[in-house]
Subunit: 222 residues, 4 copies
Amino acid sequence: MEYSEVFSTWRELCKAEWDSYTKHLFVERISNGTLPKTAFLTYLKQDYIFLKHFSRAWGLAIVKSDSITDMHTCSKVVHALLNEEINLHIEFCNNEGIPTKELEETNEMNQNLAYTRFVLDAGYSGDFLDLMAALAPCVFGYGEIGMRIGASQYSAVYKEWINTYAGSDYQSLCCEVGNLIDNSVIRKLGENYSTLGKFKELTHKFKTATLLERDFWEMADI
Amino acid sequence: MEYSEVFSTWRELCKAEWDSYTKHLFVERISNGTLPKTAFLTYLKQDYIFLKHFSRAWGLAIVKSDSITDMHTCSKVVHALLNEEINLHIEFCNNEGIPTKELEETNEMNQNLAYTRFVLDAGYSGDFLDLMAALAPCVFGYGEIGMRIGASQYSAVYKEWINTYAGSDYQSLCCEVGNLIDNSVIRKLGENYSTLGKFKELTHKFKTATLLERDFWEMADI
Amino acid sequence: MEYSEVFSTWRELCKAEWDSYTKHLFVERISNGTLPKTAFLTYLKQDYIFLKHFSRAWGLAIVKSDSITDMHTCSKVVHALLNEEINLHIEFCNNEGIPTKELEETNEMNQNLAYTRFVLDAGYSGDFLDLMAALAPCVFGYGEIGMRIGASQYSAVYKEWINTYAGSDYQSLCCEVGNLIDNSVIRKLGENYSTLGKFKELTHKFKTATLLERDFWEMADI
Amino acid sequence: MEYSEVFSTWRELCKAEWDSYTKHLFVERISNGTLPKTAFLTYLKQDYIFLKHFSRAWGLAIVKSDSITDMHTCSKVVHALLNEEINLHIEFCNNEGIPTKELEETNEMNQNLAYTRFVLDAGYSGDFLDLMAALAPCVFGYGEIGMRIGASQYSAVYKEWINTYAGSDYQSLCCEVGNLIDNSVIRKLGENYSTLGKFKELTHKFKTATLLERDFWEMADI
């Protein structure tokens, strides 16, 4: 299944990087349930901080939109991040004995900081497309990972996490973001977008964010 | 009724400007129904464009927030603007024979451009507080106007507009934004905030935005 | 003389607006010396404020540059604005009995605010090219005006102003900015840039800034 | 010698972090000449990329300034970075057989990306003071390091690097930036600035940037 034509182009151009992220050992161990719980919790606590900055970045996408239609989509993503994804992290951590206060006070690791601030600067310094290119690897990568594990024989250990990203809510959000990106890229750069220098810049941002996603898995010892 | 302590301070410091905006002849004629329909529609079409940029500015407030709680409030305002206030404008205009396409193609007048871009630059160049100071006159001014007219003997001609801003949804949004501003100002600048240079800068932004609101009424000939 | 291929394209696409700005009555009266001194001083005081925000916008161009070469050019423009153009305004006003303090305290008029904040938001919300499109009308328009008047039989009344913009320093800055814009547009959007939606957006920004330049002349009664 | 009162306050509040940065083994080995040349070149190539983003951040400081005086100072720093510091890096690397092209194509390491994008986001999302707090550790730390080594019996191996930061040009730039920060902080937050929540936020940004400076030394194996 393809969320977006532009995303497929980017993924094709960054194949090795994409696989190093979406097929990382961390992901495989979530799938087969062998990931140590402590590693998962380390990841989840960093991801809580990540989601805060990722929501900020989608807020920036509202400011950088040039139509009310696009603003609606971006606002919907902010809403989903703040009301669903972040709450899932809080609940999951609370169930594991980590209170919200501890989540809030988690020390942000360098890989986390590098990734989120890279996305924010790409957005602030560039236009809507630059921001989308930096946001895309997270959105679609988790979509692909969820879809792939969800369709396989997976262990029940991390089934809530898997169900979140394999679920139809998240998958249809990916399609909506895919449309948003395809429409903006084609509207601004035309059907032959992939030949333009601007698109090479977008691809470079996509690639950097993909590598930063890969490094994100490596914050926890596994 | 007071939405916020900080807002009350600003209003007190800019009393003449505040009255020139909230008690403008345009407002009185909405209240007593003598405002020409053409003037109202001119205003509404400009306000449609305004709301688009105002939603962008509240998107910026999400990026500039430093807590998830504040992000929730700002995201809620974006949601209300995009899903309620803008839709009311579209419906009202459609009922008056102005199709959405015409709304979209309305030429932005200078007063509108001056106001919205001032708010956006105040936000981009300053911090969360600078953005709030520039956003406050619109939010609270419409709240006060709606409340005052709603409590008076008003004409039925523009009752939908009046009910929107006098209504409990809008009024409780004002209270929420009031809390957001009070909490941020006190958290950052302390209880004696009003003595600080930073607060004088905020007041200057509040005053400029108030005058730009006054000028906004003057786009239409009345 | 042509400063830039991209600028020539924009000017051609906005011919009526461009002429309404560069051939404005205000400009003709500077040329023939019939512009009242009070009008000129009103303009100069507003232009002092304008140059401050225009320098800020060129500072933003440094942040939005993607090469050290481009950063050098933008830094050079900031330097010229702060050290030469603004100083000329101060000197001229001082000679006319307006102290620097009065300049600093000048009330910013709406047309001024509309223009400068439009440029800043175009820059913050867009990429380097969006910023350049909004900056271009000022840079090149003053170049053209200076060049045209400088080559004509002009009155000595405003000769310092005329010499500034007709002079080789300003003219060669225009060529440098022209190169910067041509190189960035072609590097990012290719040789056929003029067919792209992104270029239509840039042209719209150029046109809006051109109209705001025209309105800038109209702040003073002439 | 003290560059600034506010800086001294920050340094005091982050003493352990400050020492871990300014007295890092990497620095000691520059001083006594035992740092392997390969480590120094790795550092220099990363620092070339760093200086590009650092110059961008000082460009942002121009946009965020609220007076022409402050804009002058920030523009001067941009000028010094682009025309002096970056050129020294280029010359030094060229002398070591690393052509400028190789410098340009250096792969940006995560620690570098984390640091520069943190500074840029702090600046974009905050006000002038937030940006200054994130810029301060680099400016003053190199000043202190240069001053301390320059006053000691240091090895000749890295004497050009040492002389750059110990030299009067760099030291007087530190004093100018120190004044800029003291004046802005006191103008905006008053004499009792250190008690305010806003100042705690600034200190947190200073501390994070200090730790990112420490990590910067650790990119090269020594």
